[in-house]
């Protein structure tokens, strides 16, 4: 089962390290990363495997949001089905 993690906000040091450490602790395996920086605006998108997570996805989503607040970024984890539904026929 896959989900998409997105991290957006003003670019700063150590974002990838913090987010990937957090995800590893939660049993999330990162399979693909893409990132762009546009006028100091940082956007990272990760495709992750959530087969090994220990909590419900909705709980993990809340925890991501909290981590986002701590490091001053916006962090979300969403089931991949929503993107598949909206952008693929």
């Amino acid at each position: 089962m896959h989900a998409v993690v997105t991290v957006t906000g003003k670019d700063k040091k150590g974002i990838i390290a913090k987010v990937s450490t957090f995800l590893a602790e939660k049993g999330v395996n990162v399979e693909d990363i893409s990132q762009t920086i546009l006028q100091e605006y940082f956007a990272m998108i990760m495709l992750v495997d959530i087969g090994g997570i220990k909590t419900e996805l909705s709980v993990l989503a809340r925890e991501c949001e909290e981590l986002g607040k701590e490091i001053g970024m916006s962090i979300r984890i969403q089931h991949e089905a929503i993107f598949d539904a909206m952008h693929n026929i």
Binding site: V4, T6, T8, D32, S34, T36, A43, I45, L47, E56, L57, S58, V59, A61, R62, S74, R76, I77, Q78, H79, E80, A81, I82, F83, D84, A85, M86, H87
Partner: protein, 451 residues
């Protein structure tokens, strides 16, 4: 891996453009609840609703968390209560209050179905039930009521229309302390649909199965944003853009609806792909029409722009869902749409123009505050006009007006939350009572004979 622009587009739709699932509505049949007495029936109704919908709030929150899309309302619709209470119509209020208690117990936002279907004729038990609606709405909080008074197949029941003018007035009187708020929970329909997830007009039709999940999606802000990206485009391209946007919005609704039905052990019913505005900035249907080029909603061109919008929304949505139903289209409730409120305040939007707009969009005269001294027969005549538009055009129309007690043109009224605020709008003061008091039934139009 997904295209990163697609991913970011979805996130922007939610975070900046107010894309949301407006409601997950569970339709529940109450037919098995009819007991020997009103008291027993009310208890059965309470138990049934509390059992079947016990997880609706929890599941909605789970889905919202997993997919990252807000689910604004959790609702229940039930079999029209006039049927459940037919053996004891004078005590139907007990069932209404039991439903309201169940809604509070479950933590849902609204419960619809305190309703009667009298489009062709009104049995005695239905008349007693309808006469009791104002008192029940005054004594409940989350219960919503609707009455169907006409259809393309059967014509318009003018006796019921006359009665509903009085019921609307009485509902306003009994809730005068809250500016007639009871009327915001009462809709008078023509061609009511049996699977509508939106309030106040939701009820669970008798042709439906036992437990069904219907989902209403929304996203006026997303459509407006998409149109802002093509400011000089001609209307072919504008319609195409609306279609594409509606497709994406509806696909999100379809996903949530199917998953909600699975987790709640209910059948997936329909996705209602309506553009439903809220009073916040950036969530307005009126502003879409203004983005298309009408300076202020209500100006000439508004009806044409709305017709195109409504049609494009349906075309985009239909392919995105396996079952589209409900009202599906664009809603134009005055008090719930910041653009409509502003236009009405400026005097650019009149009830007459709104009536014309209802001929080409999905609903009717919705959430309009009118002077408190408007006669009941004038309200009945407003209802009759709307029903005529619905009957002739084979579409749903509705009237939800609030004759605000003690207030007149120039005043405004605040309902709060999703119900918003509204300036009191003038109605035509010509006397229509002789027409309304004739009673009887306006025959079904010739094109209803399709067999």
């Amino acid at each position: 891996m997904f295209n990163k622009f697609d991913v970011l587009e979805t996130i922007d739709m939610v975070e900046k453009e107010h894309l949301d699932i407006r409601t997950i509505t569970m339709g529940i049949s109450l037919l098995p609840c009819i007991g020997g007495t009103a008291e027993k029936t009310a208890q059965n109704v309470y138990d049934t609703v509390c059992t079947k919908a016990k997880d609706i709030v929890k599941v909605a929150e789970q889905l919202s968390g997993e997919y990252g899309i807000p689910i604004v309302n959790k609702r229940v619709s039930v079999t029209p209560v006039s049927l459940i209470s037919a053996p004891f119509p004078g005590k139907a209020g007990l069932v209404g209050k039991a439903l309201d208690r169940a809604a509070k117990e479950l933590g849902i936002d609204f419960l619809g179905g305190y309703s009667a279907l009298v489009h062709k004729g009104m049995a005695e038990y239905e008349q007693i039930f309808i006469e009791g609606i104002p008192a029940v709405l005054a004594e409940t909080e989350r219960l919503c009521s609707s009455v169907n008074i006409g259809s393309s197949k059967s014509g318009i029941n003018m006796d019921a229309v006359k009665l509903m003018g009085e019921v609307v007035k009485e509902t306003a009187r009994l809730t005068a302390a809250r500016d007639g708020l009871g009327c915001a929970k009462l809709v008078v329909f023509a061609n009511a649909v049996e699977d509508n997830p939106f309030m106040a007009g939701a009820f669970h039709g008798v042709g439906e199965s036992g437990t069904v999940i219907n989902v209403g999606v929304s996203g006026p802000g997303v459509v407006k944003h998409a149109l802002e990206g093509i400011p000089g485009a001609n209307l072919n391209d504008a319609a195409e853009t609306i279609k594409r946007t509606a497709f994406k919005i509806t696909r999100a609704g379809q996903l949530i609806a199917k998953e909600a039905a699975k987790r709640l052990h209910a059948e997936f019913g329909i996705v209602d792909l309506s553009l439903a505005p809220t009073p916040v900035m950036g969530d307005s249907v009126a502003h879409i029409l203004e983005e298309l080029g009408v300076e202020t909603v209500g100006g000439h061109g508004t009806t044409a722009a709305l017709a195109m919008l409504n049609d494009a929304v349906k075309k985009g949505g239909v392919m995105a869902s396996s079952h589209v139903g409900g009202l599906s289209g664009a809603f134009i409730p005055v008090s719930e749409d910041i653009g409509m409120i502003e236009a009405a305040q400026k005097g650019k939007l009149s009830i007459d123009k709104l009536e014309a707009m209802t001929a080409v969009c999905s609903v009717g005269l919705d959430m309009i505050a009118i002077p408190g001294d408007t006669p009941a027969t004038t309200i009945s005549a407003i209802i009759a006009d709307e029903a005529a538009i619905g009957m002739i055009n084979n579409k749903t129309t509705a009237v939800r007006v609030i004759p605000v007690p003690g207030k007149g043109v120039g005043d405004s009224v605040e309902f709060g939350g999703l119900l918003g605020r509204a300036p009191v709008m003038p109605v035509n003061t010509a006397d229509s009572s002789r027409f309304v008091l004739r009673g009887g039934r306006i025959p079904a139009p010739i094109h209803s004979n399709k067999n």
